[in-house]
Symmetry: C2
Subunit: 84 residues, 2 copies
């Protein structure tokens, strides 16, 4: 694996796992008032398009990172709506 | 501009502007308790690496999106620390 792809995978891992402490916090506090629903919607739409972009330029780190990020944002949006 | 680059720019615009309503909400509510600081730190580190990746694969949408996202996350982290 060349350095660029490695950097991409680390970058994707970081921006993806970033949502784990956020999901965990929302779950723990049962509070999501300070989290913007508009952010979640825009972000979900964005990562879907990043996934398409990733397929288009054949960049596995972009595809993998964005598919997982999308799922985590779905969970967070679900918690946001549940604890609304 | 070919379709792939256009999709990349739209994706980058969406995941970047996603942080604007979040910054706006934190500013307005003066409350950031529900936002995870760990998320902000991991995300900031991730978008810095995405920027390096973007330069490495010569992908302007990746570079532009991640530099702006980084700045918005800095503002959000500042608000988080201020209203701690």
């Amino acid at each position: 694996m060349d350095t660029t792809v490695l950097v991409g995978y680390i970058a994707g891992t970081l921006t993806t796992i970033a949502f784990i402490p956020q999901v965990s916090r929302a779950w723990r506090l049962r509070e999501t008032r300070d989290i913007s629903l508009a952010m979640l919607v825009l972000f979900a739409a964005g990562v879907l398009l990043w996934t398409i972009y990733g397929f288009s330029v054949s960049a596995p780190p972009i595809i993998a990172a964005n598919v997982i990020t999308f799922l985590l944002i779905l969970v967070l949006a679900g918690l946001k709506l549940k604890y609304h």
